[in-house]
């Protein structure tokens, strides 16, 4: 069983559209994250949620709106997509509060903006 699953794996869409990426984890973790990996493979945190509450928002444009309906889900909605949003987006989860617990990553969603 996949521990952290993201859908879709690939997303191709036009500039200006709105799209969502879903993430679910079945590990019983209470903290979830979104990371963005750019074309140069650089990975950077976007958001983290602990028990459905936003903990970190790393100066991400407000076109990006995460939503956590429960501890097992953290979805990412993006409005008015721009060319610069093309990237691979990774969802991750961990047991919060103890920093030595590793983050478990999903397989990523490759978003391509035409």
């Amino acid at each position: 069983d996949t521990a952290v699953s993201q859908t879709p794996k690939y997303l191709v869409t036009q500039m200006g559209n709105d799209k969502s990426i879903k993430c679910e984890q079945n590990l019983g973790h209470d903290t979830m994250y979104w990371y963005k990996q750019d074309s140069k493979k650089f990975l950077k945190i976007m958001f983290s949620y602990n028990n459905k509450e936003l903990i970190i928002n790393e100066t991400v444009p407000n076109r990006f709106s995460p939503k956590s309906p429960d501890k097992a889900h953290l979805n990412l909605h993006i409005n008015s997509l721009e060319l610069g949003d093309s990237a691979v987006y990774f969802c991750a989860s961990s047991r919060g509060g103890t920093s030595n617990q590793p983050q478990h990553f999903g397989d990523g969603t490759r978003l391509s903006i035409l």
């Binding site: 994250y33 945190i45 920093s99 030595n100 590793p102 983050q103 490759r110």
Partner: protein, 115 residues
Amino acid sequence: AQTVTQSQPEMSVQEAETVTLSCTYDTSESDYYLFWYKQPPSRQMILVIRQEAYKQQNATENRFSVNFQKAAKSFSLKISDSQLGDAAMYFCAYRSLVVADKLIFGTGTRLQVFP
């Protein structure tokens, strides 16, 4: 703010040989955690090894070991008996105890393994 630097964009190694990937970091904190993640072409992010800064003993996981030099803020990864399946991007990552809810990644090292 903490930073993580991987100065080797690419490395290569012959199968069965040993290779060391470098990572340095900058922090004013005394306690933190360090990780190495592997990203094969399949795009998955796979945890390779982790090290707690308060532990002097270097972490090992089978063929993977680290050389953790806290004073020098260095955290290199040694892969012994390299295998073709080790070919991937390797990312070094830092996790603070103060702001624990994110990983700070280096820019990655692409490792090629030749038969």
